[in-house]
Amino acid sequence: MSQSHVSYAQILETNNLMQNCSDETYWLCVTRTVQESKLFPVPAYMMLSYLMAFYRYPSLLRKIETRLLAEEIGDRARNMGMKIQNPSMGWALPGFYLLGREWLINMGLLKPTDAIEDIIYVMNFWKRFQLSSHRNDGHITNKEFGHRAQLLPERRLQVFHADMFDCIAGDGLHSAAQAFMAAASQYGFLIPCESRISMCNSGPYKIADDREMVVRDFMDLSESDFPWLDDIATDVPHNNVTVTMAVKDCHFHLMDDWGSFESKPEFKPEQLVGVGLYTSDHLSDGYVPLGMNSREELISTFRLLEEKVRDATTRLWKRIAAWKRDQMIDAGAIVYFAIIKDLAHIAGVYEVDDWMKVDERAERFRPLLNDEFSRDALGELVGLVSHPSQQVMEYTMAQHSNKPTRMYTNIPYSVLQGEPCTATCGPLHSGITNLASKKDAYRTTRGILTLAEYNRLSREWVPPLLTDKYRFLCDTWVKYHAGTPLADELYHLEQDKSRKLKGKGSRLRRTDVDRLLNDRHVVLHGLARHRDRGAFAGRGGGPAARRCHRRQVHVDGSGASGATRRVFTRLCRSAREHRHERGVWSI
């Protein structure tokens, strides 16, 4: 077609979204690291993956939305540590697609006016997903939030916070947790062929004046989608593992859209003072605790997982070291392109040929991908930003480099006044692979499933917290409805698997959780509560009770005059009655 039916507003928004991605991609690429490996031809597979993304994402995302909308999947993302976290969705989805577009423009195979309905659709899908998955912090990306990722609702954070076990450098739990995270990180770089996309950090969350919590996800660890893990990762008992970390005297000032962090002072292992362990996927009821019944059980769980992961690392490395170059390129390109594959799993429309094959349209360019051309073309695309299409008027000062460059080419507005354009790159084409066929076995929280079973369960299951009854009960609603039966129901669902918070309800605040964890607090506050049990237990009860509470704790009840004491008594009785009616929880 030569014309399209897009609006001015759609192009305005799309170009805005693209340029936000442009600025952040540049920053991430130049401040992170050079992608290189003696084992994998990394730039070669990355360039191929970008073309795969350009040709396939529009069709695959439309297919996904036949079952679930982007914003519905975004809701699911907050409920688990599956691979639709920020590296996949916050950055890679638009990034890979747009990098493919930009490269094709520079080869003369595409005009900026081509596939404009695809571009608008992909960016709109991304926006809706991001706004939904980030709805708690109200931003579209970590970058927009000043490199911060506070995705989780209070009820989940309280469970993470309360159920962590304390540890200190050198003790059994600290050593076991550190060893597991090191082994999982090692494995997590190998599975995705020398990229960091199997791991994601989010947060930080303030859990005490001197402590922050970071949530670390390790994803796609077991036999699931990647053929190269078949018969290698069989014994890895969980596909996704989430580690919650409490860190003392260390502020995580940066949590980027690649899921990596920076802190001041620099995070060191001895600052790790608490850990928890979970697994999850879209078939689980949120995060399922692993070995969290006791400290000893958690230590042995970390040790067992470390052993399994280290064994899988060695076996996988040997398999990969025996591969041909084309197999390495296939695996790398597939793992990059398929970084958003879990969208299809969640929607229950996953097909191996959609995600584990190199699209024949992209495959045409494989003969170009020697190490040198790939390195230079990639470096120009994301680091130097020196391809011809990326040069703009000399007055321009790019956000980070001050150079007259722009990573992604805008859609020209001239298409609205008749400049010829095309709408879409067309439907899915077939694909090829040099890798072994995928075994029909997928490790999930429901056990090892065939793909047919997996898709069926995916279509049927809605996690209770995401049913229509609770889906829109956000933290803002809870702020004004804490203690109501519905709010308590909501919190009870989240607390059901908690060791410390089961049944505690919705009035709980962070300091209450902290008291559970801190003997000093329990002793100190326990003394105050003991003097007026009932009236001052827990939090809440309205302004009068809170004033009364502060007064009582501060003056220790001894300095009040007779008149003041009578006022206090009356206020406190009122507060007690009020709180009793609302079913206040007390620790």
Binding site: F189, C193, R366, L368, D371, D376
Partner: protein, 249 residues
């Protein structure tokens, strides 16, 4: 010849890399000629006929143009020159035979003759994490999957300080935890290898500019030095840790 949309670029002229420019220039020539066969009908070309008109064989011919002109490509993955030695520059210092005489010789390596304690400065690198004491061990070059497989099979020799020119985290994946320390000639403290050595608690210097260290030399790494910070990279501040040779192999 048919003109392409990108032929009218006001600000962009050519790629910075000659190799990229050569490839892209050849592809654009190809597109112009194929588009001409359709009478310049872009809309039928771009997402329909181009899939048949622009083929993998065309891309092979473009690569051959450069090879026939005498160009040989740089390589980064060991598999690349192994499979196609005809198109890549020769790989030095990767075989067992050549490794005994090989050493990194960075032109900016900070070197000095042995001091009164016999420590010969051989360069410096960016310290990933600070440790209470310096690390002493035996330098062993690890530059190929074959070497990793050998150590995986026979066990990593004790006291091994791995000397690596790959800042990735996969080449040495199954044996990294067994190193006493790592000297990496590339990357930054935030590279995959830097991240992993920090996680394992293996002392490591990244972006090491070293010269003259041979396989089997006993070396000392100044890992008591302050770890290089993100700010130091962004502001260009030098924060390095020294590498000394204590004894030749």
């Amino acid at each position: 010849m048919t003109k392409l949309y990108v032929d009218s670029d006001k600000f962009g002229y050519q790629a910075a890399s000659p190799t990229v420019e050569a490839f892209h220039g050849a592809i654009k020539d190809l597109v112009r000629s194929k588009l001409a066969t359709l009478g310049g009908d872009w809309n039928s070309f771009v997402f329909e006929k181009s899939y048949e008109l622009i083929t993998a064989d065309d891309m092979r011919k473009i690569e051959k143009l450069l090879i026939d002109a005498g160009h040989r490509f740089d390589w980064s993955a060991a598999i690349s020159p192994r499979e196609r030695p005809d198109i890549y520059k020769p790989a030095a210092g990767v075989s067992d035979a050549s490794i005994s005489t090989f050493s990194f010789r960075h032109p900016e390596a900070k070197t000095a003759p042995p001091d009164k304690d016999g420590r010969e400065l051989c360069g410096a690198g960016d310290n990933v994490a600070s440790y209470p004491t310096n690390t002493v061990g035996v330098a062993r070059y690890i530059r190929t999957p074959d070497k990793v497989l050998q150590f995986l099979t026979e066990g990593v020799p004790v006291e091994t300080i791995a000397v690596i020119d790959d800042s990735g985290g996969t080449l040495t994946a199954p044996i990294l935890a067994h190193f006493k320390a790592v000297i990496c000639a590339g990357g930054t403290v935030r590279s995959h290898l830097g991240i992993l050595t920090r996680e394992w608690g293996v002392p490591c210097l990244m972006n090491a500019k070293i010269s003259g260290i041979h396989d089997g030399d006993t070396v000392e790494l100044e890992v008591t030095a302050v770890a290089k910070t993100a700010e130091a990279y962004q502001t260009g501040v030098e924060m390095t840790a020294n590498v000394w040779r204590l004894k030749k192999a």
